[in-house]
Amino acid sequence: MKKTFTINISGIIFHIDEDAFEKLSNYLNSIKSCFNSSDGKDEIIADIEARIAEMLQAKISDSKQVITIEDISEIIAVMGEPEQIGAENGAQTKSNYSSTETRKRLYRDSDNKVLGGVCSGIGAYFNIDPVWIRVAFVISLFIGGSGFLIYIILWIIIPQALTTKERLEMRGEPVNISNIEKSIHEEIDGLKSRLHNLKNEAKSSYSRNVRNYHPRTAVEKILDFFLTLGRYFVRTIAVIIGIVFIMVGIFLVIGLISSFIKTNDVIWISTMGISNFSIPVFLKLFIVSPTQITLALIGLGLFIGIPLVMLVYNGIKMIFGYKSKRRFIGISSFTLWFGGLILCLIVSVSILSSFSHKLVVPKNKDIAQPKNNLLKVYMNKKTFVDSISYEETKFNIGQWNFVSANGKNFRFGLPELRVVSSENENYQMLIYYSSKGATNEEAKEHINKIEYKFAQNDTSLVLDPYYLLAENEKWRNQNIKIIIKVPHWKVVYLSPETSSILHHDNDNFDDSKDLAGKKWIMTENGLKEYYAPQVVGASDTINKAAIEIQNKIKNKK
């Protein structure tokens, strides 16, 4: 006694044994998966089902009313195994050779070989770009040359994919989520049918031709299991790397795009608290021509953007195990990237040319001679820069600063202050203005737009902590150096605030802060610390030094 089902194929009703039903439905399912991406899939399946119904109709008679598993086997023999149909179909729709019986095997890929096709074969097996395998091998060459030996061994033991079937086995089905799911289902289905077969064999009924694939040995199965396990493991790693690639790539692309957004400030702080850098505004700080800015933006965008986009693209490829044979993506992206590089170089050269001439213009500033032979140097603390609140945006290249406040942009720089000895008996002040330009004339124009202020009263000199550039003035490495000349045996006081701009050539001082906040006397050997004639409670050495200095001053006079 056997259980039967009633099924409807193409509108005709059949009674069918349970095992025959399973075989038939497995067969139809695997055929369907053959045509998954063919255009007329539904029509093809309908045609095939109609034909199966017709053949089944011929099998039944009054004395035999139920379809048996042998009938199904015969029909399958006429219609063809899924892989037979699939292989023929594969020539037409490509990639559809997939069938339940195809196993993935490791071959050497002679179509994509560099040496023996080992790497490309491994890549095909693990479904990752062979480039990564090659990179790994090249790296392993530097680790004791082990990669070389492994490569030779693999070259010898891995067979080359020669026939179409072998090439198909080499590539196999892409290991992706839906296929993993499918393979689990197939495994369960296969288990079911094997159980049935066992049952049937025990009943000594039918039949050896049901299992028309040759049974595999235990060793083969175990090997297969570990290879499959290894394959999924490598895939998992590739997927993880792919995800990292995509995330990093997307994050950087967003960063790049937002840095191309034009704002008023070079640096802006968004509401999300992400500080950013605006490339267009930055370029505008030193590039005159808008065309050049546009070119530089395109160049930079391609030069930085293309690798990022390719990073995301490769990440996606790694996740989905998708290998494109489309060379043009690689070639065109490289061309674009290279074009970007060339653009960047062209713009850089033209920018550099506007930095080619350096001009330094010294200007003597008249200062009144202070009383008591003591010049006090202070800093002006009431400049506009100090009035700018901390939250305002600020950006600097070296000593040159860009500040945006109250809707206005200010360009200013920190001067350099040096104290040297005077060649005569007078305190003197000299300011060196310097700038670069494409020509000396241009540099001179830039110099004329440097604005520096200072004030003086009877004993003190009040310096502005910054020099200003005119609005819309481009950055040409404008600089000023303030030289204060102190006559021999006269004293200069440098207020603590001067430390921000104070420089010195004397090796005796470790830090410009050593100079600031103290009085200094100019000697033949440069600046020495000056001590007042009478210091109450000072140590003996200081008093001794003070007396010595006082004597020298007197002698000089």
Binding site: A50, A53, G80, E88
Partner: protein, 99 residues
């Protein structure tokens, strides 16, 4: 079995008379061209979708209605082209073989 050759055979069979797939299979088998029936269905559908074939339904005594395929005008000209290139191919191959 090369797809192109199979296509040529099908077109030639259909040029003689309208057929349904098992007829075509029989004729191929008679000519000792071994093909499983399943391979023909996708091919027929594609040829039909490309406009080379069309079909009529015919009632059948046993089973569901059958699709009888026949050549369209486009199919006839495709057959002519393919015959020509097939003969050219044979000629070229023969030339090489006989050398």
């Amino acid at each position: 079995m090369r797809k192109g050759v199979l296509e040529l055979c099908i077109l030639s069979i259909l040029a003689k008379e309208d057929s349904y797939v098992p007829d075509i299979i029989d004729k191929l088998k008679n000519a000792k061209l071994i093909v499983v029936e399943g391979t023909l269905y996708p091919l027929m559908t594609r040829l039909k979708n490309d406009g080379f074939l069309t079909y009529n339904w015919a009632e059948s005594r046993s089973g569901p209605p059958r699709k009888y395929y026949k050549l369209t005008q486009l199919g006839k000209s495709l057959l002519k082209d393919q015959k020509k290139s097939w003969e050219d191919l044979i000629e070229s191959v023969n030339k090489i073989i006989q050398k």
